[in-house]
């Protein structure tokens, strides 16, 4: 089974791109399924179900969605194998714009959009800089010049990635993307023992443990202070 991790900031067009990818894969008679990870709410699973494919949905609730992803990916992969998928796409929203639970030796795709502003590539961490393929969307609503400026910004933070413009609405570029993603000789039937490409942000402070009171005396564990000069 081909395992593919797709992430990107909210509203960047991940679902639209995946929908078009599913169509290309189905045209090629490949068995495709999607596992959708989100935080509080999603109805994207219904969109995928309409395409008649197996769908798994996971809401992280009060947990960091990417931590939730890593702690569940093993079961998700087993689910994919059980459903005899050729391609399993996992979709997760990069809610803090830093993380992405990309796994070593598993194809990683980051979706970002042209509308998110010229400095955005600088603001996104490993989610963008560690991806194998960066898909830029919403190119049809900005100028050619802005597209060029934006993709050169992406190339600067991730020179090794293949950078593609794909239109999530018309699907222009989606077929091409599908040929880059699927590889005949790629088999991931278990992720046990595999490693993440980059560590997640460290947390575990008193607030992680349920503290709600504000003030230095209530802060324990991993705490970092802003440099605001001497306040005394």
């Amino acid at each position: 089974m081909n395992l593919i991790t797709i992430s990107g900031p909210p509203s960047s067009g991940k679902t639209a791109i995946i929908t078009k990818l599913i169509k290309s894969f189905k045209d090629r008679k490949l068995n495709v399924g999607v596992a959708k990870f989100d935080c509080l709410y999603t109805d994207d699973d219904l969109i995928y179900k309409k395409l008649g494919i197996p769908v798994l949905k996971g809401l992280s609730g009060s947990l960091c969605p990417d931590h939730y992803f890593v702690s569940n990916i093993e079961e998700v992969v087993e689910w994919g194998v059980k459903n005899s998928l050729d391609v399993l796409i996992t979709e997760s929203a990069g809610l803090c714009n830093r993380c992405s639970p990309y796994i070593k030796d598993v194809k990683a795709v980051c979706v970002i959009d042209n509308l998110s502003g010229v400095n955005t590539p600088k603001k996104i961490g490993p989610m963008l800089t560690m991806a194998d393929i960066v898909v830029i969307t919403k190119g049809d609503i900005v100028s050619q010049a802005e597209r060029e400026v934006f993709s050169s910004g992406v190339a600067m933070v991730n020179p090794r990635a293949t950078i593609m413009n794909v239109n999530g609405l018309t699907g222009q570029g989606a077929y091409e993307l599908s040929t880059l993603i699927y590889e005949n000789d790629q088999h991931t039937d278990s992720v046990k023992g595999l490693k993440l490409r980059f560590s997640m942000p460290s947390a575990t402070c008193s607030y992680c443990l349920g503290e709600t009171r504000i003030g230095a005396e209530h802060q324990l564990g991993n705490v970092k202070k802003i440099e605001a000069g001497d306040l005394k």
Binding site: I141, E146, R147
Partner: protein
Amino acid sequence: MIKFDKIKKMKIDELLKKYSFMSNYFETNNFENLDYKSTLEENINKLDNEELEELGVKKDDILLKIEEYIKQMIEFLGIKEDDDVNSISIIAGTNKFGNEEKYEELKIKKGEIICIVGPTGSGKSRLLADIEWVADRDTPTNRKILINGKNPDKKWRFSSSNRLVAQLSQNMNFIMDLSVEDFLQLHAKSRLVENPKELIEKIINSANDLAGEKFERETQITDLSGGQSRALMIADTAILSKSPIVLIDEIENAGVDRKRALELLIGEEKVVLMATHDPMLALLGNKRIVINNGGIEKIIETTEEEKEILKELEVIDKRMQGLRNGLRYGENLSNI
């Protein structure tokens, strides 16, 4: 080939002198507190785990990325003669029903305008995508694209800086909050042009030639009218974009002198493909491709008789533009 081992051993100030684009790189990747008198390698080795965590990178990864970036930039800056695109050829594939397309090979030379016509959903976008992707019998249409009559280098597919195709889409909004001059400056910077001042001047003048109303270099791009935005974008693509092929998705009725817009694009020696249903634009083209059911149905060469119709259309167009301008400046239309 560059010798990266040597580059690693260069002091940062030497590195910046030799590869000025690296200042951009360090800035974008949030490298602060660089010691200019130490080598690149020493600077990287000095980063502690906390700093690496902040930067969101791994130590052994940074040098690899910098190497890749320098290689790409050198390749981009050193665009050689043999990278010139003088022609593209579209070799026939199949339509939606798997039937052979009804032509063999269409060769489009630099300076030519080819129009694409056909009903909505007929496959115009797929044709544009085949060209953009440099199809190699591996897209749903099974078409093949040649560049300069030869099998193209795969680099056209993947390199982000050396793109084959610039696309002028129907939607021509700007989203950046910048003045015209700052915007063009930014674009010129991303394309690493050597004489940005001169080019920016040229783009603004050309755009003002095309648009009905003139704008200033200090004007915010988001304040430009529809016609002015289109004019700016066309001029920018013609003059600043390095892409040798321009795909245009309809430039219709937008307060832009369409004939001169095409002349500007062609004047910069590009291959122009334009999807249009405007008879005047279609007749300005040398040929037109008729698409139906996902395939190329026929290729029509613009005849002399058709060119006669063009003259008629130009008279009508001039009259329309005159009336439009009269309206704009509050004149009585019966006097025009």
